[in-house]
Symmetry: D2
């Protein structure tokens, strides 16, 4: 480790933050990372994608959220873990950096976007950390392998599982920040839970993170908050409608490009995406300003579908929806497609099924064979138990997930 790893600012810097009041920075490394162009770019990526078209307050960026996750991890490692025998103080900086940088690879409206171009923000996070970037230059100053270590933490492959769990587990700094932050900016009352209490009971223990059982009710409340935020905000049918329109617009643009269509305004920032040969530089260049600028250019295109879809997104003239699972009701779905076609719309671009489990948000699913780590409680006896064994509310909620199937189509369609 270089001296740089331990270098402190002469005076602590603070960012005024509406959720945590202040974000405190003392480490030179953190300060330098925040100043990099790749981190500043997160100001141009909205935290909640299209949700601002439903909840007008939700215009906050991933920059915002990334600072918040960092601040929570900083409080855990500096105020709670420091000095405890099961916490290795030399992991502090990698934990802070991973917290700050965990969303670095997100692109514009990630979910709708990745769907069309098969890019993967997790892949780009690694590219930015290890590639020819300002972020990498800072991390390399810490030590040769430091950027790789940060990447491993974010990818959940780091050897120290405690560090990984701080950033990604069923109750991590990422989720704790975004629930509170998204609740704050949307203005809904659901995202509240007693984070102070949770932070007080978090402990490193046997190579993982556990929570003293006295904090169980605060954790139940957090799980309930998550549940409500997903149902009320993240899965809101109108924000999914906007995602659908955005997705279809990009799909149409790609199709036109593939067909050799002559754009009035050459979409040079999309070329490599259309051709599936995206470089890191191309990826970083395409933020939400540029994506939305193209949508506005496309409102003047000749192609009627591209022109119409981009206009719908920009002017918020979104699609309507019905509750319909095409697999369960294929005739009804076919009939819907027929109605759309009969009224002059190409179903390829004007009918789209969507289900909430398509959305890459993970909900609480113990028993699911994915990588989700369960939440562990430390009983007064010292015994460790999985949360849903102790909490009948969590246990009840865990077994009750419904998938919500909808089909989106233009508002103008008159069913006959």
């Amino acid at each position: 480790m270089s001296n740089y790893a331990n270098s402190k600012l002469v005076e602590e810097k603070v960012f005024k933050d509406p959720v945590h009041r202040y974000v405190h920075v003392r480490d030179q490394v953190i300060w330098d990372l925040i100043g990099t162009k790749e981190f500043q770019r997160l100001r141009r990526i909205k935290q909640l994608g299209t949700s601002y078209l439903v909840f007008h307050g939700a215009e906050h960026s991933r920059f915002n959220h990334s600072l918040g996750v960092y601040e929570i991890v900083r409080r855990i490692v500096d105020d709670v873990f420091r000095g405890r025998p099961e916490w290795d103080e030399s992991e502090r900086l990698v934990a802070l950096c991973a917290a700050l940088l965990h969303d670095l690879g997100h692109g514009p409206f990630s979910h709708a976007f990745e769907n069309v171009f098969h890019t993967d923000h997790e892949h780009y996070t690694r590219e930015i950390l290890l590639g020819n970037t300002e972020v990498n230059a800072v991390l390399r100053k810490v030590s040769e392998d430091f950027a790789e270590r940060v990447a491993l933490v974010i990818e959940k492959n780091y050897t120290n599982n405690i560090v990984v769990s701080l950033i990604s587990s069923q109750i991590d700094a990422d989720r704790m920040d975004y629930l509170q932050r998204d609740a704050y900016f949307t203005g809904v009352s659901y995202g509240h839970f007693d984070m102070e209490r949770i932070l007080r009971v978090i402990r490193p223990r046997q190579g993982q993170i556990v929570f003293k059982a006295t904090g169980m009710h605060a954790i139940e409340d957090y799980i309930m908050s998550r549940y409500q935020m997903y149902l009320q905000i993240y899965f809101h049918p109108v924000s999914r409608s906007a995602e659908t329109v955005l997705n279809l617009t990009l799909k149409r643009a790609k199709q036109l490009y593939d067909e050799g269509y002559q754009f009035k305004f050459d979409p040079i920032h999309f070329h490599s995406f259309f051709e599936n040969r995206v470089t890191l530089e191309d990826y970083l260049a395409l933020d939400e300003n540029i994506l939305l600028a193209y949508f506005q250019y496309w409102m003047d295109e000749e192609d009627a579908i591209l022109k119409d879809l981009s206009r719908r997104f920009i002017n918020r003239d979104l699609f309507a929806h019905v509750d319909l699972n095409p697999e369960e009701e294929p005739e009804r779905y076919a009939w819907l497609i027929e109605q759309v076609r009969a009224q002059g719309f190409d179903p390829e671009y004007y009918v789209k099924p969507d289900s909430t489990s398509d959305l890459p948000y993970d909900f609480y699913r113990p028993g699911d064979k994915t990588t989700k780590k369960p939440i562990y409680l430390e009983m007064p006896s010292g015994e460790i138990r999985e949360l849903s064994e102790q909490s009948h509310i969590v246990s009840a909620m865990a077994n009750n997930i419904k998938v919500d199937y909808k089909v989106y189509y233009p508002k103008e369609i008159m069913f006959i």
Copy 2:
């Protein structure tokens, strides 16, 4: 008046708003206006311009704020004024529309932008209200002269002074919304005042707005909030630095265009601005997404100055400043310019004075011969008195305005 003017939605619509909890819409006219593309465009103009580069939460748009101003006026006219003899109920709709639409003409980063291109957002508000727009189409359905009436209210030339004062006076719905909203999104504790109390004591009286004297302390608190918000947020030196860099970037682009410079990426959205022949359509097309997209394109231009300035803005590598009034200290200013030039920067683009009174925010200045209306109190006796006569705090504050002079220059400059 058409039936349309009185047409109500079957069921009230609400917007979840973090500041007012809910924004309530019952009138078909209001609902239709919100849906127009010109109003939706306000989602693409930030309420606080460059402030988000200092207060990361301040990413909220003018769409947000416009709904808030509407909601405050709605509460005043529906909950407080309704039924009072000095309030003319037939003015209700024009008041609501003017509240909703008062910022309609704002462009991207208005202050820095208008400075270069000599556009005027107030002019464009009128253009949008009366031109060939969706907003105008809605307003015309109310009555022939309705759009003109709304414009007159916003321009403070409407005959009913009560309606004007609701939207623009020293204590109006506009200010009450933005202080609270900007405080909420930045997260500072200054913008709080007891709006509930102020709304309870507001009265139409003798053709103007007065406040029952029992609410005087709430108004003092509001004035103090304003004062603090200006000093702490609106005049923050770093956000002015960002405005300076933005302004100089645009100035450089215009200069290059004037000189016939060949842009790699033709700035077609700027042509009419550069040539000073902007149409309403051009104006509406240029929002913050497109402006910032060009800044990113310009980072790849050949011209070193344009390339550098746009990069500084995008990557938040802003200018430093000194406290300096060029008129009072011309030698020191000349010396500063010389230093900048000696270190290889063109002072035309790398030195810029700025004073807070340059910023078009109006501060509380009784006695000033501008159009600001004073705040009137209604004493228990029925007598009307000007606020600063009654409140020694306000009177003390009113006489104590300082102009803050700064000169901005690149951080790299080493003074020798």
Copy 3:
């Protein structure tokens, strides 16, 4: 109905309230009721009994809460129900009065107190409403049978079930106020739910209260808040310990009186309670100030048990507890009693079992054959459904109630 029933204050009066911001009073009847000595007496009865000994902020009175319940009902009837065909406007005043007065019969530390003296606050509410009181004098001015009508509403025997449900049902103004208020004063984060949303969807329908299904998630959140408040605040083991000590102190005083013990300071305010011949006047005279004054006098009594127990309560030197259900573990309970006796304490006054279902708080129990009315949702189709049919969270929670059994004993006991 007299004119008095419709008489309005010249100017609306408001009370500053930390939970609802303001409580608004326009009706002369309500204003007069608030001024009665029986209503003012509620200032001397704490809302949460002994909870302030655990949550030091919980020092608020039933006066506080009663105004809050009134304000919620006022908002429902004036802002939501007014004008709806299924709401009978002539029921407005009786609803408001019942809301304001529903807790009028509460005495000092009701739960612990009623246990010893077999008084019943619901009985006294009726007595105060109909007896020779200032409250009755006000109500009689409205009409001959008005006091009786108010009593019937509070007792859930009123013919109009909508009015009853506003005050007492699984989701009524009483619960909505106390959850928020108790959360506010204790400072916990659990009591938050979106009351604004719930108030927006409440409807009179077919002689009962229903909630539009769009508000279901807000109701789920409210149910979760209740659950957490019960577990975290209302059933807190230390506040139950204080109740236990209080209960035993009163029991000892009664026993001594029955035995003819000569008190240093004659407990004249308790005579009729000890002798089970309490008049309304006696009941009203005994508030928490007087009860606690006696506890302080008793700290100087000769009787060692009375002296010790009262001292424990006043100085907060409370009992410890173990998890133990005497019926399930009779030997362990007997052993505990033996330990207490062996260490010199009379088990009659120094061992006491308590279970949370002993506490007269009602928890959500659909299926229970008590008087609790279920919560009904109105589906978009117009169909009415019971909440737990629609919400799997509520359904899961409804079947998962555990009784918590504890036995309290002096901290000094050393188990050997």
Copy 4:
């Protein structure tokens, strides 16, 4: 210093606090002090005296506030001062104890009470600290002179001026807690200021406390909050009316006792107060429960004046007031007295002048030759300046204090 001074709890204890979220206790000494009967007694003394009769939420006790002041000082010494060369770490414990115990000597409704009985809560604070009390027993365990040191800090005679200033200066932990706490419990919006910022800029410097000038606006806001809280809450005319009635009731009881009146219910707890021979034990025994219990007993006395005044207080049937300075308008005052007498009231007990400067709250008065320490700013240059030199708002406010004169009399008086 004994080991006891440094003894820490095995696990940190926390109190849930609505203002500071949590109050943290790690020191055994602090924990033991909180458990003493003299400290627990503060639960029976309201923080705001009679204000709860105007602001119904203001029922909170001095126990509440004392924990809050402790918590603020704890944060300053542990989070800000620790490790700074100008802070003597050995002063930590005395600072914490003085913060916790600074209000220990307050009696019931101190202001109105001390006026009649010439007791002095500051005197009793010393008595409790040094007398035969549980508090003294704890403090003595720290060291022989520790109780005396705590007393000196509270009395502002301690040698280390930094410690004194934390507890009592123009901007100390006491004021910062009560402004926020009283605002919270009353529900008014005035008491907000950015304490986090103030705590960040507080520094020990040259034997006193200074604030970095970057925090000046937060301090201005705090001063404004104080000003508003005094005008709106602490000096509220109706709460002063209640104080007046309370004062006159006590005065009447004393007069009757002096005259040998036979009380139905012998006021033994007042004997030593009436006879001016109060012992520490007597003083500690008389809390608000007992005082108010006597008021209720007195409602049944024969003496018409005592009976009437006590009833007025208990049932909140308070006095009316006029703006009148008896010294400036002696004839008008004499006329008022005459009116009261003519309508059958004894002016000795039914007319009482009151001025806000009579109330022992100190307002910000630089230049006043009292003991108030000014607030000092540390300029970026290192220079120390007095606040009002730098802040024109504070300077303006400092010179603008008005005394508010009122005369209180029964509501029933009809002026003719």
